[in-house]
Every structure is written in C-alpha cells, then in structure tokens.
Symmetry: C2
Subunit: 334 residues, 2 copies
Amino acid sequence: MNEPRVSLAQGNGGRFMRELIQDVFVRHLANDDLDTSLDSAVLDFPQDRLVFTTDGFTVQPLEFPGGNIGSLAVHGTVNDLAVAGARPLYLSLNAIIEEGLPLAQLERIIASLAAAAQEAGVRVVTGDTKVVPCGQGGGLYLVTTGIGIRMADIQPRPALIQCGDAILISGPVGDHGTAVMLAREQFGLEGDLASDSASVLPLTSALLQFDGLRFMRDPTRGGLACVVHDIVRSCQLGVSLDEWMIPVNGPVRSVCEMLGYDPLYLACEGRILAVIDAAQAAAALECLRALPGAAEAACIGTIIDSPPAVILRTDIGGERMLQELEDDPLPRIC
Amino acid sequence: MNEPRVSLAQGNGGRFMRELIQDVFVRHLANDDLDTSLDSAVLDFPQDRLVFTTDGFTVQPLEFPGGNIGSLAVHGTVNDLAVAGARPLYLSLNAIIEEGLPLAQLERIIASLAAAAQEAGVRVVTGDTKVVPCGQGGGLYLVTTGIGIRMADIQPRPALIQCGDAILISGPVGDHGTAVMLAREQFGLEGDLASDSASVLPLTSALLQFDGLRFMRDPTRGGLACVVHDIVRSCQLGVSLDEWMIPVNGPVRSVCEMLGYDPLYLACEGRILAVIDAAQAAAALECLRALPGAAEAACIGTIIDSPPAVILRTDIGGERMLQELEDDPLPRIC
C-alpha cells in the first residue's frame, strides 16, 4: 500500500504547499495570532524585557518513547526561555521536511507539537516550511524560536554564582538520551524507559520566588556534565558534585552500565539544574519536590573556591575529575 | 589535499562545537547582545508592537552570483519584516550543517551573512547549530527568525486593498530565480545575471510615508504571480496586470525564453510589490525610483472589481489569465 508522502511540490510555495500547511500545520496550531496569509506575526506586547531564543531539532528517530521531535521542539525552546527566568509566550516554527516523509507521521508530530505548546501556554504565531529532496534530510528537521518576558526582577545568570552556593537538580538525569538511544538502536531493551521531555516552566517559576537563585539551565546535549563545565568556565570557580546524590533511574543506570555510557553526559529534556544561595537550598528543594516531575529533586553539590574544574566525590570517599565532553557518545538526541 | 570539513563531533554540544561556534559564528557575528554562553538573548525593548517572522533557507547551490545562502538568510527575513511595515532589529540564526561541509565555505557564508546583517541594521542575538550526518542534509540549511517594531501607525495588509488601487513593483522580476538556476545547472550562460538579493528596508520605509499604502510583499518563492494570487484570494477581487509594464532584465528574458520559464513565476529576493491608492501611485513611484535598486520601479496594474482572478493584458490588446503556481519549475531557490 502506498501511503501518502511529502513531495517536493509541497514545498514550492504554491497551492500544494498552502494545502499542506493548512491540512497539517494550521489545523493543529490555529490561534488568533497565527495568520498564514501573512509572513510574520504582529504581537501586542507588554512593556517589559524580552527574552528571545532558538533551537534546532534533528533527533533520530523522529518518534521515541515519551515524545517525538514535535513535542521536543516545544519543550526545548520553552525550557530555554524558562531557565532564563522568562515566561514563554510565542513560538515560530520552521519545518525542513525530507521528500517522502509519511504524511501520517508528520501529522502525529505536529499534533504532538500543538499539544505540547498548549500545555506550556505558548502560541505558535508564525512559521515556514521547506521540502528538500529525498536523501537530503533526516525525514524532518524542526526549528523553534521563542519569545518570552522576564518574570522577575532577578535575571538568573552565571555572573551571580558565588562560592558556597548549592547545586540542585530537579530529577533523574539521562532519561531522554537513553530513551532515544534505545529507540534508535532497537536493542529490545525499552521496558520502562521513556524520555523526560516536558516543560520545566512550573519548576523555574517556583524557583524564581527565591531571591538567592543564581542560575538555572536545562541539561540537554552533553547532559549534566556539560552544564557544570559551562558554570566552571563562566565563573572560573570549582564545582564539587556528590555522585551518590545525583538521581539516576534504575533502567537508565542498567543500560548505561551495560553499554558503557555515563548518565551524567546524557541529555535530559525536562530537568533543570539550579544554583542557589546555600541558605535557601533546603526550602527550594522542598518547593521543587512538591511539583509534578520533581519528586526526586536533590542537592547534588556545591560551588567551591578552587581552580576551575569539576570534582566528583564518590560515596566511598574517593574523588575524580569529571571531564568535559569532547565527542558525544550519542549524537542527534535533540 | 584534504580541506577541513565539518565533522559530526562539531555538532554535539561539547568543546568541538563550542570552538566551531566561536571560530566561525561568533567571530563574524559578535555584538553586545550576543552571548553564546547563554541559550537566549534578553533584549531591551521599546514599548511598541512587535513583528515576529521566520524563514528557512535550503537554496542549492549554497553560493551563486550575487549572494549566498548566508546573505539570503538575512535578506529573506529582514524583507519579511520590512514588508510588514516594521523596522528589523534582531535575528536568531539556526544552522543545520551537513557533515563534510568545507569549513572555508561555511566561513564565507557566515561572513556574508554578517555583512548583510550589518548593512540591514539587524543584530544576530541568539542561535543554535546542529550537524547532521553526511547524506542527511544539503550541505547547509539556515533558519533566521526576526523581531522588528512597527514603524508607522498603518499596518499594510490585504484587508486594506480596494478596487482601483494601483500595483507597483520596485524593479525587474526573476533575477534571483534565474541566477540560482544557472548557477545550479552549469549552463555556461551566467554572463551578467546575478541575484537581486538585498534588503528592501529602504524601499518599504519610503512607502510607509504614504497614507494610501495598502499592502507590501516581497515576491520570493513563486514570484510575482504568487503574490498577486495571494492578493486575489485574500481580497476576493480581481487583478489586472499590464504585461508590458513589468520590468524583466534582458538576460532573464533570454534565458526564460530559451528554457521555457515564465519570469513572473521566478523568485526575487530584493524587490517589493506594493498596492497603493491610485491617487498616490505617481508620487510613490517617483519616491521609489530615487532609491538604490529601484530605478526601474513601475506601475504594473490595478485592483479591479471582478471575480477573483489575475488578468494579464498584453501590449497588442490581448488578455490571458495568469494561473496560480502548482508545481514549481525551480525548487530550492531560497
């Protein structure tokens, strides 16, 4: 049976493309600010500071346990705005579609994207679609660009970080990376593993109420290790992590041990790492743990006055340096 | 000789990617609002209405006479903001790079992008880079998303169009489409043909001073024909075009005649089509013609009270219907 597939003619700017956009994109994304007869969106805007971010998505496979490239494209950009201390308001959406992509799959992905946007309280207000020839794309690449407004007077950023600050993580690490890897490799190991892909806005909104909040980041590509190395590099301070405090789900730990991966380098798509005044860490943790998806939030380390490096302390009293990622063990997980 | 090429490791979120971004993107795009240690840009913003637009670029070949995918990615999005009546301020930039792209070529393209941004007065303030495996991209795909602010009280849009309004074009049509086609096909016909890729902001700024301005659009994919069909569909009015008044450069006309293309369907990347109160058409035309790139601006037709269709009048008194584009004779020209 020949299932309908995206054709090059559907990316050419003519009727076929307009119909594809109507049939798939507009049907799922319709809102008062989205007018596909215009090339841009004009937005009423509060008198405040904007936050503007963008992210590209090339994950393979396009669908995986716990999500797909559509929901991921919303969560990724919403989360970038959220960790900057912003409330996400608007998204633009670009789709670069490879000729031959099954329309039913595109449909599922855009439906999922629309549901994720609605849940996160953002509206897709403008977009663009291109179709590239078969063999010149990975099925579908998405780009989302987001606009948000600052929610609080403080803007969490690396420059605020001080020695003695506590490092919090909102939940187990490595779920997304592991779920996508298993979905790709067909190990037959899927079991209970699912991506943690989700909006972190409820978590960041809660933490913004603490005036001792210094910095937030969602550990995506490169995982937790990448974020702490970013901190070390920005602040020229040390980070000490307590390895036994870092939550890792059982199936993720098993798969990583079996295949030789370190979960600290694997992507999350629904977690945040936060740096906060140590005096407010316990209260912030309690606040996080009451929220969906953050029951296992933990304090995992401290900013220390030492040369810039990441020290990982083990529960038997040992120490090792957590190296910076050079080559990714798992490309294209977002 | 092995020239340096983009590797998958340069898209993985680790050190190699950070170095690539520093070496290529930041070096060209550095500005006070671009901080690659952050995932988003926080922007001071005037108390005004925002315009927000996005466009994806998949042109083949990546470089062509008169421009490349980098300058095109700036002009395309700047022009979408400009025709919406906005002054472009900020861009985000996404690069989806195919493994193996020569770094020297990436360098040329980003340098050209930076020069185009500077010339158009916009700043690239946030971005994201992904590298996809060899064979899963067309060398390089770019996405730019733009924010602008409204320049005038009027917002030109199809709903303002009335019967009797004049239709202006700012210069010869089809240059970009023809230049890219020739660059791709290696006909050996290049000669004087170059893309018209440019910012149209000076043109739109001038026209916004006319209170009779109804609508502006840059005729990109699908060309002039696509824009007039959009008008007809939005307004449910007729359009009458005087074929002999539509400027077409000699080499474009020759190539189109030789190869059987109609220049009215070929993309421009530095022209605007404007609809304006007929009483102000002559003054607007004079104003346009004084600007660089618009010396050949012309009044090419009228909005007419007839069933929605595009009538093309020929200089020998004939008439034909200009059909809507269905399949593009020239895919991937932007």
